[in-house]
């Protein structure tokens, strides 16, 4: 796990990235994202949030209307650094007339990987993604999952310092997803920075050190999973009996009450144990019996849904993202 506070250098440091299509479609409205070297970073957000546009700007596929900052220490759009960057786009389309081995060799040649290294690396990676037996088969014979594995392999042919993966587990079965997670963990252990864009929140939750939630072209949340979930923990107290006499007092404490008949549930936002105990006391004083008290940490999905609903706060990153590279 990368500690943000110890970070002295960012692999990706995006400052005020904007993209406007035509005159009125604002895909990105000033995005600031920092990714530490050697960490697995997740980008998530609803459809149309601007995630793919942001990734394409990083990979020079789309030109930003405005963008400051650096990627691997060079200005955004610098083509030279692409030699040490790997990329797997969403819905990629590889030439069906090539074999898997030919594709790896071709893309690696475009990435300026010397021939002897290509010849050594291709079988290694094909083996790593489980395609050794398919190395000489035409790509148009590959299944969707195999194409995805091949796509990941091509992104790693140049032994990149930064890997940008857009929906890397798309089309993979559970075993394939586990393999990808293990591969990502291995890469991180070797010091490779990984930038993930995925709709599969559970996948991101399992592998990412830090995440950013993009909503409507702006950063809505950014931080480590711990930081984000600490902000959104809540306690749920289940009770039986009639607690109507204390409803107003509980509401004044910020608790949400869902009462029905002779049972109910009180939710207390935040990590505030004294409030939890005060609520229990109130419930018991009203004659209600406490059935259970359980802390509930929000999942990434909960955070995303909350961020999507919090339009008024969009743009204000909830966590400090001090940027030593730009200061």
């Amino acid at each position: 796990m990368v500690n943000v506070t110890e970070m002295t250098n960012w692999a990706v440091d995006l400052i005020d990235v904007r993209k406007t299509y035509g005159r009125s479609v604002h895909a990105l409205r000033g995005v600031n994202i920092q990714v530490g070297a050697g960490e697995i970073f997740g980008l998530l957000g609803p459809n149309g949030a601007g995630k793919t546009t942001l990734v394409k700007i990083m990979m020079t596929v789309v030109r930003a209307t405005r963008a400051y900052g650096t990627i691997l220490g060079r200005p955004i759009g610098h083509r030279g650094k692409l030699a040490v960057t790997g990329y797997l786009p969403e819905s990629h389309r590889f030439p069906g007339y090539l074999t898997g081995a030919q594709l790896l060799d071709y893309y690696a040649a475009l990435a300026k990987v010397p021939r002897d290294r290509r010849r050594r690396r291709a079988p290694e990676l094909l083996d790593r993604v489980g395609l050794t037996n398919w190395a000489d088969a035409r790509i148009d014979k590959y299944s969707k999952g195999m194409l995805q594995r091949l796509g990941i392999a091509q992104a790693l042919m140049n032994d990149p310092e930064l890997v940008v993966l857009d929906e890397p587990t798309d089309g993979l079965d559970p075993v394939g997803r586990r393999d990808v997670r293990e591969l990502l963990a291995d890469l991180r252990d070797k010091g490779t920075t990984i930038f993930l864009n995925s709709h599969l929140l559970s996948e991101l939750e399992m592998v990412c050190d830090r995440v950013t939630i993009l909503v409507d072209g702006l950063v809505a949340r950014q931080g480590t999973l711990r930081e984000l979930t600490d902000h959104t923990v809540e306690y749920k107290i289940a009770f039986t009996g009639d607690a109507a006499s204390v409803h107003s007092t509980l509401a004044s404490l910020g608790a949400k009450i869902e009462a029905g008949g002779k049972s109910g549930l009180v939710s207390i936002p935040g990590h505030n144990l004294s409030k939890v105990n005060e609520t229990i006391d109130l419930l018991r004083s009203s004659g209600a019996m406490i059935e259970s008290v359980s802390p509930h940490r929000f999942s990434l999905e909960d955070i995303l849904v909350e961020a999507m609903g919090a339009d008024a706060n969009v743009g204000a990153s909830h966590l400090p993202t001090e940027n030593p590279a730009s200061s």
């Binding site: 394409k56 596929v61 786009p89 990629h92 389309r93 007339y97 090539l98 030919q102 475009l110």
Partner: protein, 309 residues
């Protein structure tokens, strides 16, 4: 390394297209058909003597016989099959190269490599040239060999039609890529290119009419316009004419003089056109067309480099 990889990929892509094999089949079929014919005194032998056609058409010997065979090869085979059918098939075969590169999911990976966009564009462009060059070499090479080995007439100038036909293709292909970049459509690229080819030929014919027909020359403005446009656009008809001129031992005008062609068929106007086209220097025909191509390619390259994908 990157450039070579791109050109190699274009060639692999062309091998995957059925039209590559259709073109190869046409080359082999034409060469094979030529091989089945032999020209002997007083007769033409077909399929190694299976059929024999009595004719005094080739009873003449020496230079004139060679000229007539050259005329059959150059005007009949090269001009029609290579200059028309071949170029149209090549345009159809290569028109899809750029749109397929620009497909979402393909272009993303390509642009994420450390290769400049202009290099990517140029690599694909030259890959198409290589594709056409290979086919032109196969076709001309085979027909050249059959002509020499089977008919005994060697036409070294005919080999020049390989680069000239690639040049002709390139003058048209630049239009194809210019259309393909904004439209991403293979069909649009082919149709507009064929339309442009007709337009270029039309301009040259119109200008020929103006310059050889005195009654037309009273329309000063139209005459000037045709000359200016002809100066700008690729000289597709002229380049074909140059290829034919260099390929055969003698021009058709000479054949008329020597009695190889019925003088009634060679009108005065046709002779004027022959003389006019013969007088146009090759460097002007090729150079001005290349200048047009360079401008169009630069515009296409700029569009390719500037757009978002």
């Amino acid at each position: 390394m990157q450039f070579l990889a791109l050109v190699l990929d274009s060639f692999r892509e062309s091998l995957d297209r059925k039209i590559f094999w259709v073109m190869l089949f046409i080359s082999l079929a034409v060469a094979g058909a030529m091989f089945c014919f032999s020209f002997e005194p007083n007769k033409v032998s077909i399929l190694f003597g299976t059929w024999e056609l009595e004719t005094d058409f080739l009873t003449v010997g020496g230079k004139l016989r060679e000229d007539i065979i050259a005329w059959i090869v150059v005007d009949g085979i090269m001009d029609t099959i290579l200059g028309w059918v071949g170029v149209i098939l090549a345009l159809i075969a290569t028109a899809g190269f750029l749109p397929s590169l620009m497909q979402r999911g393909t272009i993303d990976v390509m642009l994420s490599k450390p290769i400049a966009r202009w290099q990517l564009f140029l690599g694909k462009y030259l890959g198409s040239m290589a594709f056409v060059g290979v086919h032109a070499t196969i076709f001309v090479g085979l027909t050249f060999l059959v002509c020499g080995l089977r008919w005994g007439v060697w036409l070294p100038g005919y080999l020049l039609s390989i680069p000239l036909m690639v040049l002709l293709f390139s003058y048209l292909y630049c239009i194809s890529v210019l259309v393909a970049i904004p439209s991403r459509s293979t069909v649009a690229a082919v149709l507009v290119t064929l339309g442009a080819w007709v337009f270029f030929a039309g301009i040259q014919i119109t200008d020929d009419q103006f310059s050889t027909n005195e009654s037309w020359q009273q329309y000063d403005t139209a005459y000037t316009a045709s000359r200016v446009v002809r100066w700008i656009v690729p000289k597709t008809a002229d380049i074909t004419y140059k290829a034919k001129q260099w390929a055969r031992a003698a021009g058709s005008a000479d054949l008329v003089q020597q009695g190889g062609i019925d003088p009634d068929e060679a009108t005065e106007w046709a002779e004027k056109i022959e003389r006019k086209r013969s007088a146009i220097p090759a460097y002007y025909t090729i150079g001005s067309s290349l200048a047009f191509e360079a401008v169009v390619v630069l515009i296409a390259m700029w569009l390719f480099s500037r757009r978002d994908y």
